[in-house]
């Protein structure tokens, strides 16, 4: 049950984008088309789960024992950057189908602060390995949900007579605000809150 709660908290109640403000750049940047939003979401799910697990091992079994905790910022970002590089090369050679679907999004993921943020949060919350796994799955699914919803909504906004000053990013922010407002309904869900 507690793992389920953890998942629910990561997925809905504390949605990473709308409630925690992580990963905003792709949320606003890659949400103008539905198919790219889905592709980006899939890539984030993949990379986030993988990187969370790797950084967890790195922290627990290398940085902690060697007393190098102060290096975690540099170590994590380098691990994630090289992981993304590695995946890109690997997909290109081994799974070209997946590469053509996700490949273009991979380089963008390095700068997605949600990936690094979740790696940090797993350490800060003292998650076990299984909790790390569940949490990163929940967060990345929550990210994908928000991104896909935003992409759907933006298709309608793009064809609406939005006032000039609000066109583009401002109205996207307003949309995000109202989305976050709707997500507030899950506050206190099973005792979970911000």
């Amino acid at each position: 049950m507690s793992l389920f709660l953890l998942f629910l908290s990561a997925f809905l109640v504390n949605n990473i984008v709308l409630m925690r403000f992580l990963g905003l750049c792709p949320f606003f940047g890659i949400s103008s088309k539905l198919d790219t939003a889905v592709g980006m979401g899939m890539s984030v799910i993949f990379v986030m789960v993988l990187s969370s697990v790797i950084t967890w091992f790195l922290y627990q079994y290398i940085l902690m024992p060697l007393n190098l905790v102060f290096l975690r910022t540099a170590a994590f970002i380098l691990v994630i950057a090289s992981l993304v590089q590695f995946l890109e090369i690997y997909f290109k050679k081994a799974i070209p189908g997946l590469y053509s679907a996700l490949g273009i999004f991979l380089p963008l993921i390095t700068t997605n602060c949600a990936i690094l943020g979740v790696a940090f949060l797993n350490i800060d919350y003292g998650h076990s390995l299984i909790q790390t796994l569940v949490y990163s799955i929940g967060v990345s699914l929550g990210f994908t949900l928000a991104l896909v919803l935003m992409a759907g909504i933006r298709m309608r906004i793009d064809n609406a007579p939005v006032p000039d000053a609000m066109k583009g990013l401002p109205i996207a922010f307003i949309t995000a605000s109202l989305m976050a407002l709707a997500f507030l309904g899950f506050q206190g869900f099973l005792g979970l809150s911000l």
Binding site: R156, P161, L178, F183, L184, G185, F186, F189
Partner: protein, 324 residues
């Protein structure tokens, strides 16, 4: 001589007729609210409507758009917002809520027809987030009844009773009693201004369905799901209240009949409408039973509003469509 493309005859209705039709459909509940809660209910509704129309008018004036503030849609938003706040709210609450609803949730998106979220619900969620102590703590009894709908228990609305006092045997024994259900159906209980009377809301909604100003699928899907899920939860012991209590209490009728059916913010395909209604009802029950708030109607609809553009993408098959 006029030249125009076919067809050359048009059905005898228009946007204004629909909008004012909805306003008329809300009147029984409005008159009921005055009977139940006194003139302050009318006063707050009036403030809300005036703010809504004025905000829309001024925005359109300033941005040099066509003035459509009097097409009735702003009036609906104003009424629905007022219907969703307690009668003891300070006067500025409906004003701020209405202003937010029209400006942020409607006009910024391009005005009527383009808003993604139901403006009244967005306005309500805004005041709920800002002043929860008013929205959930200031209930008053109807002039001719008690807050909870059960004589002798006057502490909270029926839904609060369920959330906070569900372990009290005195409450439990009477929560599904015919007396309770009768009061809920008629509306003689505490609650937001326009949500208490299922009967009066239903009268208005039947008018809407007959005139085809609202889609019955969403309402049946929404209220039906609340009923079925509440029944299952009741039988499995997750909630002490029966399905009738759940659909009649709180805002299920107001939300399911008038807010989920808002044309602009609901799907356009029959299948999409079923999904919209059913998923909304489910979320409402989840929030009621496990959520932090006693009521989940407005959040459930607001949440489903986000899915509408995606539901619209599920295109029905056209006649003779060939699979490729």
């Amino acid at each position: 001589m006029y030249i125009s493309s076919s067809p050359h005859i048009r059905k005898d209705w228009n946007v204004k007729k629909i909008m004012y039709g909805v306003v008329i459909a809300l009147m029984p509940a409005f008159i009921g609210s005055i009977y139940f809660f006194g003139w302050r209910a009318a006063y707050l509704t009036f403030l809300s409507v005036v703010t809504a129309v004025l905000t829309e008018y001024l925005f359109q004036k300033i941005t040099k758009r066509k003035i459509t503030a009097f097409d009735g849609s702003a009036i609906i938003t104003g009424i629905l917002l007022a219907f969703n706040i307690p009668v003891k709210s300070p006067w500025w609450l409906p004003v701020v809520g209405s202003f937010f609803a029209i400006l942020v949730a409607k006009q910024f998106f391009g005005g009527l027809g383009y808003n993604i979220f139901n403006p009244a619900l967005a306005g309500r969620a805004f005041v709920m987030a800002s002043w929860p102590q008013i929205m959930t703590g200031r209930w008053s009894a109807p002039l001719h009844g008690s807050i909870s709908g059960i004589d002798g228990i006057t502490s909270a609305t029926p839904l609060n009773l369920l959330k906070l006092h569900a372990t009290d045997p005195a409450v439990l024994s009477r929560i599904n009693s015919p007396e309770m259900l009768k009061n809920l159906f008629i509306g003689n209980v505490g609650g937001c201004i326009g949500e208490t009377s299922a009967l009066l809301l239903l009268i208005g909604a039947i008018f809407l369905f007959v005139m085809r100003y609202a889609d019955w699928r969403i309402s049946v899907g929404y209220i039906g799901t609340v009923f079925v899920v509440a029944w299952i939860f009741y039988l499995t012991g997750l909630t002490p209240a029966g399905p009738l209590f759940h659909i009649l209490s709180g805002g299920v009728f107001l939300g399911g009949l008038f807010m989920a059916t808002d044309m602009v913010t609901s799907p356009v395909t029959p299948a999409g409408r079923w999904i919209f209604g059913i998923a909304g009802g489910l979320i409402c029950m989840l929030i009621r039973v496990w959520g932090g708030y006693p009521e989940g109607v407005s959040y459930s609809i607001l949440f489903m509003n986000m899915f509408v553009p995606l539901l619209d993408r599920v295109r029905p098959k056209y006649l003779g469509e060939v699979k490729k």
